[in-house]
Symmetry: C2
Subunit: 191 residues, 2 copies
């Protein structure tokens, strides 16, 4: 069954997705970054709106401004998180909101944003790169970041993704077993 072989190769990638916060100074080239963004576009979006936009920040002065804004020390701690100004690429994932503020609108937006981000993260992992999904940094300093990045008023920041080659080799992720998170027909009924 060729399908199962494909599933196995996908599982190999997914089981190795880890939060990477410490990067080498090896740059990630544009061609590869482009493939990560293409991967993100392949995810589904409600009504196929394809609303995600990606701001790829490499400019060092800009990265320094962002790093300072996030109040992260620029001091290099061996083995600690890489200061954001030293991370090869920062990708800001942004969009407008075509769905409105209703509960179903909020779900449609979230369901149109994070699948794409996850595609990007998986593609990074598959390419030997590392990243980590950070959602709150951009939100906490949204007005300032929007100004720095020339974001239109009606856009919002969903995530900031630092991208680079991992300085440390991480093992597989550990998760709750399926038996603890899956139920049969009704909540609480054993899988």
């Amino acid at each position: 069954m060729p399908e199962i072989a494909t599933l196995e190769s996908l599982e190999q990638i997914m089981v190795r997705q880890r939060a990477v916060r410490t990067f080498t100074d090896q740059p990630a080239d544009d061609a590869l970054v482009e493939r990560l963004i293409d991967a993100a576009t392949r995810a589904p979006s409600a009504k196929n709106v394809q609303l995600l936009r990606f701001i790829v920040v490499r400019d060092r002065a800009l990265k320094q401004q962002i790093s300072r804004l996030f109040e992260q020390s620029s001091e290099v701690v061996p083995g600690g998180p890489t200061p954001w100004e030293e991370v090869p690429v920062l990708i800001f994932v942004v969009s407008d909101d075509p769905f409105g503020a209703s509960p179903t609108g909020a779900l449609a937006l979230a369901g149109s944003v994070y699948p794409g981000i996850q595609n990007l993260l998986l593609a990074a992992q598959a390419a030997g790169l590392g990243s980590v999904l950070t959602t709150s940094r951009g939100k906490l300093k949204e007005p300032e970041i929007k100004k720095m990045l020339n974001l239109p008023d009606d856009f919002q920041i969903h995530a900031v993704l630092p991208i680079g080659y991992p300085a440390v080799k991480l093992g597989k992720n550990k998760r709750k077993p399926v038996g603890e998170v899956a139920f049969r027909d009704r909540f609480g009924e054993a899988w």
Copy 2:
């Protein structure tokens, strides 16, 4: 470069992810459903809370109740969407909310939910199964569905995923090119 080979195999899966709404009556066996859920658990979650739970509905009477609730005709239209009671498996993706109602809390929740759902959908695609991410159906009828599924009060429904073998072979997805969705350093600056 073995990493690039891995990225290529991942891209092959992602480029073929399509919304599947018409299914054959071939069942999807438990061992495979279990692998899809395991794939979902591998995605990142804020503070590694691993909050997602999966209710796998196969019971025909329950699927009929759900189908009626969604006001979808049970009439079989050749080539049209499969009535939900005929879909082999319905997976309800649910969770509580450990993050609270602040804007950063909402992002942390969404960023902990949809990456897992996307993993599940990609794994389905890789296994030759089809699905479609529906977010609003469960939300619109949330009180009724919560009762049917014995969901605790503090849980919410993020998505309902019909799972089965696609009745129609679909081609690759079509998306905006990277040049239209990516910017360099600042919004509006050409990639």
